[in-house]
């Protein structure tokens, strides 16, 4: 008790001593210690507040306003939020996005895994081929979409239709068919993204210890058995991580719809972000677009929280 008191007094004295230093000296000491923070960190933090935090909050305010590009904006309360719950097209857009995810996530993961298995199987020039598979990832959507649209022309002289003709299949309409358009767009995204899922799986495959396979081989397991009993289950954290990343990506899909279908035919490829874009920047309904962007945010937030919850246990891999 006494000791404590003494200590307390001591620290009090120290504090007083510190405060007794002239203001200028203290300022100088503080500057010397934190100069790099004042010069670089503080401006970056202010930049962060202006370009990230402020827009985030401003966007929420926007949803309660009727923001006019020209003229006076007014407060309308929950009107735009109500509109969302009654807007069939918005629900359609969410459904289309979910449908797109269904077409896109599993094939992207599967193709990425297959490519990683091939690369990892000891083929020659593995690095070179890895580069080829990764090339679409770094290529702009605009370039690939231009080519994709040409390949999938819905006429008899479209390239894919000619190939299908060899198998006796009738020419398909592809992007002009409301049942097929979304699948064609998903195909484009699969080609574009599976190179990056390959990289994750490749890293995962390399982290599996070789002894496991050797032991299995001694027990007489064949390759298929080894894959299903060793490789596939051990890649579980990667399956999960890749699933989350591709899901988040698929909810943000915009480029291919914008470039190839313009949301059609008959709204069959209107995704959330495309609808948001159309509402905000074609119809200039900025406030309603802000509501849609918050809906997108909530969806992504839920997916990210699931990721945090389940992936938290397996983070040692990344």
């Amino acid at each position: 008790m006494q000791n404590n008191q003494e200590l307390h007094e001591q620290s009090h004295n120290q504090k007083q001593q510190k405060q007794k230093l002239p203001f200028k000296t203290r300022l100088k000491k503080n500057w010397e210690k934190y100069a790099i923070i004042y010069i670089f960190f503080v401006p970056i933090f202010i930049h962060f507040l202006i370009f990230q935090v402020f827009p985030f909050m401003f966007s929420l305010v926007l949803t309660f306003m009727d923001w006019k590009v020209i003229g006076e904006s007014e407060f309308v309360g929950l009107e735009h939020w109500k509109r969302f719950f009654e807007d069939d097209l918005a629900h359609r857009a969410i459904w289309n996005t979910v449908l797109f995810s269904i077409y896109y996530i599993i094939p992207t993961m599967a193709l990425g895994l297959i490519l990683a298995l091939i690369i990892n199987s000891g083929v020659r020039f593995a690095g070179f081929f890895k580069g080829i598979f990764f090339l679409p990832v770094v290529t702009s959507f605009v370039i690939i979409a231009g080519i994709w649209g040409w390949m999938f022309q819905g006429t008899a002289d479209g390239m894919v239709n000619i190939i299908l003709g060899f198998f006796g299949i009738e020419p398909q309409l592809f992007l002009s068919d409301s049942d097929q358009a979304l699948m064609v767009l998903a195909g484009l995204s699969i080609l574009k993204v599976s190179g990056s899922t390959m990289i994750y799986y490749y890293a995962g495959l390399q982290s599996i210890p070789n002894q496991l396979y050797e032991a299995a081989r001694i027990d007489g397991a064949n390759s298929l058995k080894m894959f299903w009993n060793i490789t596939f289950p051990l890649l579980k954290p990667i399956h999960f991580y890749v699933a989350i990343i591709t899901t988040i990506g698929s909810f943000q899909i915009f480029d291919s719809t914008f470039l190839l279908t313009g949301g059609g035919p008959n709204y069959s490829t209107t995704t959330i972000v495309y609808y948001l874009y159309e509402q905000g920047f074609t119809s200039l309904n900025l406030s309603y677009a802000a509501v849609l962007s918050y809906i997108l945010f909530f969806i992504i937030l839920v997916i990210s929280l699931i990721q945090r919850k389940y992936l938290g246990k397996d983070t040692q891999i990344y």
């Binding site: 100069a35 402020f54 827009p55 605009v142 370039i143 962007s293």
Partner: protein, 267 residues
């Protein structure tokens, strides 16, 4: 047997993945309208340069390439610098509020860019930034992901070098420039290549901030050609030219891409 299957798969998928690029190159040398696919596309040796001549004489295409270069190079250079400094501060400096701020940064990563674009559009309209380079450069001078990568990397490096330098009387800036920066070059390269690809390929943001044709970056420019039901050959010539910088960066920095993608995750 297993080897044979692997090689068959390898060549099959390599052919599929290369196909679009082969079509792009072939198309760019063919004087062809959109809706034609004849065997001549593949088998004639009639390579023509008309598409390239057309697109380069047009002038506006070169302007698009120039715009893309400006709004790509400026953020790349400044991100490589600022992400390193801020990553270093988070990893090695102790100051009040550091951990809370870092936590806030990490939380903000979860906000999709599409949410910020509407308020940013209104802000930039007020700043007079619509149809000017600022809208694409100023918000991108640093990035949370880059800061995160650098911080992770620096935390794995022991403090010994720094301590030694401090004893020799070096200040923070000297330590940063002479010790930290050279050490982080591999990660800085990753940050730079990522930033390059992201900015060069970005379509959504410039689509909204740039409404005048002469301010388009090449992505928006090509998209406008696409929607105008243009000429396939000319489009492919444009695509090929806009692809060259990406391809060169990829060729020289492939290692950093694959490392970076493992560390962060590209959309």
């Amino acid at each position: 047997m297993k080897k044979i299957i692997a090689y068959i798969g390898l060549f099959f998928f390599a052919a599929c993945f290369l196909m679009p690029f082969v079509i792009m190159l072939f198309g760019s040398f063919r004087d062809m309208q959109y809706a034609l696919l004849s065997p001549a596309f593949w088998f004639s040796d009639n390579f023509q340069l008309v598409n390239y001549q057309y697109i380069l004489q047009d002038g506006i295409f070169l302007r698009w390439i120039f715009n893309s270069t400006v709004i790509t190079i400026a953020p790349v250079v400044s991100q490589m610098f600022f992400c390193t400094v801020v990553g270093y501060i988070f990893a090695k400096k102790v100051f009040p509020g550091r951990d809370i701020i870092f936590w806030v940064f990490m939380a903000v990563i979860m906000i999709p860019q599409q949410l910020l674009i509407i308020p940013k559009y209104i802000m930039f309209a007020n700043f007079g930034w619509i149809n000017s380079y600022e809208a694409m450069i100023v918000p991108e001078i640093w990035g949370i992901m880059g800061v995160f990568l650098i911080r992770q990397y620096l935390q794995s490096i022991p403090n010994d070098f720094e301590e030694a330098a401090k004893i020799d009387g070096a200040g923070d800036f000297q330590i940063f420039l002479k010790i930290i920066f050279p050490l982080t070059i591999p990660v800085v390269a990753t940050v730079g290549t990522f930033s390059f690809i992201q900015n060069w390929n970005d379509l959504f943001q410039p689509l909204i901030y740039m409404t005048e044709e002469k301010m388009f970056p090449v992505t928006v420019g090509l998209a406008s050609m696409l929607s105008k039901e243009g000429h396939f050959g000319i489009e492919m010539a444009g695509s090929t030219l806009s692809f060259i910088p990406t391809f060169l960066i990829f060729l020289f920095f492939q290692k950093y891409f694959t490392e970076g993608i493992q560390l962060s995750g590209l959309k």
